[in-house]
Symmetry: C2
Subunit: 103 residues, 2 copies
Amino acid sequence: MAVDAFAVLAEPTRRRILDELRRSDSSVNELVEALTVSQPTMSKHLKVLREAGFVSCRTAAQQRIYRIETRPFEALDEWLKPYRELWTRHLDALERHLDNLEY
Amino acid sequence: MAVDAFAVLAEPTRRRILDELRRSDSSVNELVEALTVSQPTMSKHLKVLREAGFVSCRTAAQQRIYRIETRPFEALDEWLKPYRELWTRHLDALERHLDNLEY
DNA sequence: GCCTGATATACCTTGACAGGCATATGCCTG
DNA sequence: CAGGCATATGCCTGTCAAGGTATATCAGGC
């Protein structure tokens, strides 16, 4: 995982951008209108997201169409894995416990 | 998910603390020695983690034994869910494609 | 009750980062 | 190639969080 993926996601506006892009690819202006932030602010957030690999963009005439990329999310999922075991193991133990109660 | 869970995880030292606690519960001093940070810094990070629910602690004599908590990780997992679908769907499509190639 | 060890907090300084405004760049159309 | 959108960047300012040092709290043993 890019070392600073969490820092990138720490910004609420950036999470809203990703949330929006998850639904559909969008131009910068569409995002500006959807999230009610200034255009320069949007461009800056998109730059951060782009450099961290969360989004990519293609040029369409004068517009830049941004698109969500899954790689960093997969990395996050991977990071979460060992922690996930902590609670799934607990659940397994609980299941076994409940199973035992049935006897 | 606590609104600022990502901000909490954005700190590398805090991630190392969680990594350490995932292995075993530890006192503050054990963590200080394991991660080579000053004791006040450690206490501050632990406070942040505690307030965000990532860890809990019990008192044992003069020591505080910290322990990892799974709840915020489950919330993170939950947040990740819709994004996870993005790439699993892609994988499914790939599988179908490969299956088709077999004919 | 005092001393010591373990941990928490207060205060200060510093650096990173977000947003606002102005401006630059890039691309299309006439 | 001029003018107009769409987007990016530069500069400035305010905010906030992290780490360092000093100090406070708190529990146990003598």
